[in-house]
Amino acid sequence: MSLSAETRQAVQRHRDRYPHPKSAILPSLWEVQHEEGWITPEGMELVAEVLGVTPSEVQAVATFYSMYFQKPPGRHSLLVCVNVACALRGADETAAYIEEKLGCPPGSTSADGAFTWDATIECLGACGYAPMMQIDHRFHEHLTPERIDHILETVGKEPGPHEPHGGPATPPKRRR
């Protein structure tokens, strides 16, 4: 399955934007993830070809950074910060509540395919507004069980960011 012409063009634009094409690996991988939902082998090959680097160089980068998905996630990705500042204000309880609501442990995807979630020790920069979570890069702060219920219900019905807007909210296709 090859990637769309739009993604290829976006990678080309990134390549031409930087003094050296290799600098465009990170933004190009974002383009791949936006279309595919994760970093697919085909996506890495496309980036390597357009930027004129080897696929192994692209893969080395893709596997270093924690935000690139190495396998297909659910429609939405959800992260709860459990670093100290959040933990002091109840992040462990928040994470436990989300685990109960989604019915799956950290690092996994809910049965309906709506959320892939994790409790992360990586500080997400919302310490003054804890407890917090990020869903698809959006900050949700000052969380309470009621707010979590509301957010999960609302977002759970929306299509994921890597699906066409208004498209069917189906789990991503598995490849290979």
Partner: protein, 430 residues
């Protein structure tokens, strides 16, 4: 004393993130003045006169950093470090959320002083909303003639590229940031050569923090001497304090340097929450050493806090009340460094692994007193022996907490559970 608002003075203004409103509050006048009244050389001197020190953590004098660039080597590069990932720090996000143009203006002023034609803003992947805000600000500034060729009718040309990361704390270390920007795994480089001599693409490069750059329009508008009159000796200007933890009003507060920490806690943060007592606090961010209630009267002065055995670092203030378990806090911070170690050097890669393993055992009440000695030994074998500061700082909080709360650490040994949590449970039941 009220907050001293310099960077944040217009933050209540509706629509400040747009160019139109930013200009109405005096935006881009600093860039205009820099191009009109200064040569690049005299601008570097003006920033030296201001005595501003970097706001990213190390506190290095900005003007001096700039003057390390070798003469006549071009192109040069400027990178804004917006990879804010230090636990308990969220001021850069706040600055970008409220006024992305203030950062872009500061970046352009620095680019002019340093004769840079391509400037980058490296922003962490988790700040995707902020990256989009910056992209919009850059496009607006470009359309208005602040970015591009012949800026404001001068000879100065500069392009700005906003570069999003993808989740790696280590990329906040300046050489790892450069490595990442070049399209590699973000791992630190050996220094020397320092980035000022050999940085991005092997060229002279300056890396400055978001807050440092946001100060520049104000320094240019009011003069270096004026800026040097704010704050105290060797800690000039204001700083944004990221206040979190067990306080009534967490948030970001801007204050003049030199005011006592107590004022920040009591007047701005509303004191410790629920009428409880302060047990400990951590200034500077997750890397820094623990301080105690007796340190509350220390001034917010980089050198004074350093003398007390900690650091103001990147401007965090995390407060912990009497119910807090310092072993648990240490464990989480150690877990963070373990998770974020880039794996390049053995003391950090292996050390954080053993540290984390031991801390989990200790917090669960399963460690022996001998293992406490092992913990100290591991930390001793890391601190000062790692390739970059990440590994060193993975030991600072835990060792300082071990020293200040030795009894609490020892009480965990063989307890079969966390004794602090057990006590908290009893208090609730009573």
């Amino acid at each position: 004393m009220a907050e001293y608002k310099l960077l944040t003075k217009d933050f209540a203004t509706e629509g400040l993130e747009t160019l139109r409103v930013y200009e109405r509050t005096g935006g881009y006048q600093g860039l205009r003045k820099a191009l009109r009244d200064f040569t690049p050389e005299s601008l570097v001197e003006e920033v030296k006169t201001s005595q501003i020190r970097g706001r990213g953590g190390a506190g290095f004098p900005t003007g001096m950093k700039w003057s390390f660039l070798p003469k006549d080597v071009f192109p040069r590069y400027l990178c804004c470090n917006a990879d804010e990932s230090e636990p308990a720090c969220f001021k850069d996000r706040y600055l970008i959320d409220k006024s992305p143009h203030q950062l872009v203006e500061g970046l352009l002023i620095a680019a002019y002083a340093l004769q840079v034609e391509t400037a980058f803003i490296y922003i962490r992947g988790e700040y995707e909303e902020q990256r989009q805000l910056l992209e919009r600000a850059v496009e607006e500034a470009r359309a208005a003639g602040y970015i591009g060729r012949g800026i404001l009718g001068s000879q100065f040309a500069c392009d700005v590229i906003v570069h999003g990361g993808a989740g790696a704390y280590i990329c906040g270390e300046e050489t790892a940031l450069i490595d990442s920007l070049e399209g590699h795994r973000g791992q630190p480089r050996l220094k020397p050569p320092f980035p000022a001599v050999k940085g991005l693409y092997g060229k002279p490069t300056v890396v400055n923090n978001v807050e440092t750059l946001c100060n520049l329009p104000h320094i240019v508008m009011n003069g270096g001497e004026w800026f040097a009159g704010i704050g105290v000796e060797r800690s000039r200007g204001t700083r944004l304090w990221c206040c979190s933890g067990h306080i009534e009003k967490p948030g970001v507060y801007e204050m003049e340097l030199g005011r006592p920490i107590r004022e920040l806690l009591e007047e701005h943060c509303g004191g410790i929450w629920k009428g409880r007592q302060l047990k400990a606090f951590q200034p500077g961010g997750g890397s820094m050493q623990v301080l105690l209630p007796e340190h509350l009267d220390l001034p917010l002065d980089m050198d004074a806090v350093m003398k007390a055995g900690s650091s103001l670092g990147a401007g965090a203030m995390m407060f912990m009340d009497e119910t807090t378990c310092l072993v648990n806090v240490s464990m989480r911070l150690v877990d963070f460094y373990h998770h974020e170690s880039c794996g390049k050097c053995a003391p950090c890669r292996e050390g954080t692994y053993f540290e984390s393993d031991l801390m989990h055992k200790l917090e669960a009440g399963r460690a022996t007193p001998e293992e406490l000695a092992t913990l100290a030994d591991i930390c001793d074998n890391m601190n000062g022996k790692c390739f970059c500061p990440l590994g060193d700082t993975a030991t600072w909080f835990v060792m300082s907490a071990f020293k200040a709360f030795r009894e609490e650490f020892e009480a965990h040994c063989g307890a079969g559970e966390c004794p602090v949590q057990a006590r908290n449970r009893q208090a609730v039941a009573a």
